[in-house]
């Protein structure tokens, strides 16, 4: 009579590493998969800041003679004002790609989440691993962006500004994790992602005090900024670059809003993954 006890013991032991590092394994897989479109990532990470910074720094700024924004020491260069917002928008842009179609592919088109699901890795770890890999891509994007921002002299205090890539990352997650939670519930792409892109991301990008201060927006529309991770993160980035605007929100408030958004999204996303993969 053989018993199952030795098998039970080795099963319990074999599960230890995956239970600890499962999310990293998933991230490793996702990053490997990103290599397939690695060039697109690199080109867009370098290309889009170049286009925006050149266009605004050399083009648009030349037409703006009135100071648009000011720091504690008076008016600042327009490009100083815009650069943090552009950097943040780049991270949020990554989120709109990676937390929509990639999620749909994982559950539905390539079905790779189901493959992962049959391994010792848990649904929560699949979710976390995906988030980790996207966070890595966002951080790459924002770091490249920041390097170009420095190169263009588009930052007041380049040292304090070193935290800006992380602010961008936080914005990407504050926008992206709730989006991930939503995407993970979808069983079919009936154009919802295009709606997110056109009717959520684009208006947020335009009305979040990206190109002009939020208080120059009609009061009736200012709430868009208040609920927008783009605005909160841009303001944080500006404070790093040239200090806080007189009369603005304290930086902790911006940080808190971003953390709450990302935190709520994180909890919801993990829950959705569990519900979907453990049906």
């Amino acid at each position: 009579m053989t018993t199952v006890e030795p098998m039970t013991a080795s099963a319990l032991q074999a599960a230890e590493r995956p239970q600890r590092f499962g999310a990293l394994y998933i991230a490793e897989h996702q990053l490997r998969a990103m290599r397939a479109y690695g060039w697109t990532i690199v080109v867009s990470s370098v290309g889009s800041p170049l286009v925006y910074l050149l266009g605004i720094g050399l083009g648009l700024a030349a037409f703006i003679d009135q100071p648009v924004a000011s720091g504690p020491a008076g008016p600042v260069d327009y490009v100083w004002f815009v650069a943090p917002a552009l950097l943040v928008a780049a991270a949020v842009g990554v989120a709109t790609e990676e937390f929509t179609y990639v999620v749909m592919a994982g559950f539905r088109w390539r079905r790779i989440f189901w493959g992962m699901n049959a391994s010792p890795v848990s649904p929560e770890q699949i979710c976390s691993g995906l988030v980790l890999s996207v966070a890595a891509r966002m951080l790459f994007t924002t770091a490249v962006y920041y390097a170009l921002v420095v190169a263009f002299g588009a930052v007041g205090n380049p040292w304090a500004g070193l935290a800006m890539p992380f602010v961008g990352l936080l914005a990407g997650l504050a926008f992206g994790l709730p989006l991930l939670a939503y995407s993970a519930t979808l069983t079919e792409d009936g154009g919802q992602f295009a709606v997110v892109q056109r009717f959520i991301f684009t208006p947020l990008f335009l009305f979040s005090g990206t190109f002009y201060p939020l208080d120059s927006v009609p009061v009736g529309l200012q709430w868009i900024g208040w609920i927008s991770p783009l605005w909160h993160a841009s303001e944080l980035g500006r404070q790093l670059s040239y200090g806080s605007t007189p009369g603005g929100w304290p930086w902790v408030a911006h940080l808190a809003v971003l953390l709450v958004m990302a935190g709520v999204g994180w909890v919801l996303a993990r829950r959705t993954f569990v519900r979907r993969l453990r049906g």
Partner: protein, 305 residues
Amino acid sequence: MSAPVIAAEGLTKTYGSLTAVAGIDFEVPPGESFGLLGPNGAGKSTTMRMVGAVSSRSAGTLRVLGLDPDTHGPAIRSQLGVVPQEDNLDTELRVRDNLIVYGRYFGIPRRTCATRADELLEFAQLADKARSKVDDLSGGMKRRLTIARALINEPRILMLDEPTTGLDPQARHVLWDRLFRLKERGTTLVLTTHYMDEAEQLCDRLVVVDHGKIMAEGSPSALIRQYSSREVVELRFGSERNAPRRRGSRERRSASRCCPTGCCSTRTTARRSSSTSPPRVCTPPRAWCGAPRSRTCSFGSRGGA
């Protein structure tokens, strides 16, 4: 006598008001090759998912390797190899990389994954495709790759959900051969199939499932002996155009040999065929024969009647 590696009692799964698995009991001893045979919607995949610790049961008890999937999912899954009904290979990765990333999920060091990947590609006769894109593989190759992937963690139990559905006869035989080798090495196999001939080839023992219940249980040969009694001839009266040109007969005749689940056993057919047109004999188990609902399989040319 060995303690079972899988033991299910009153295993049940409901989705809302639908009962997909309606209280089934079975045990699988180590090294056995165990089959679940049944028609579409019988509850085979659902059972596999519960055993695979990815779907929680609604009632009953279930132990896999002595562990409860509800509380020890990761430990159970670490010892399983899973070949799902629908392939879920990563088509954006190359063939060999698919195996390596999968091995990583089990916490296997990269280097070990790479060695095993090469061995498994050899085993699955895909060594020359190692650097191909998954999309460039044929259906049979993808299936073999999925099986290779399921073996990367050297599983104690290999779970195969319809391993050969959609493959041509030759590809099926290649797969059977590979699975047979695994069985000889002592891997416990649990597989689902629609085909009695596949069950005959691969299973030591099988249960016939329908509507979430076990209808019959035994070795494939015993089940065939027990249930294949008289021939059931299915007659179809086709139009002139669709009727086969046979002298003196206008009606198209196709008789089918069927397993209880409406799947045919080609091997048995060949053995028993006597008449000129290859008859296929339909022999549902008694439990079904009595039932008025039609369970006949039709194998005539399409578009008839």
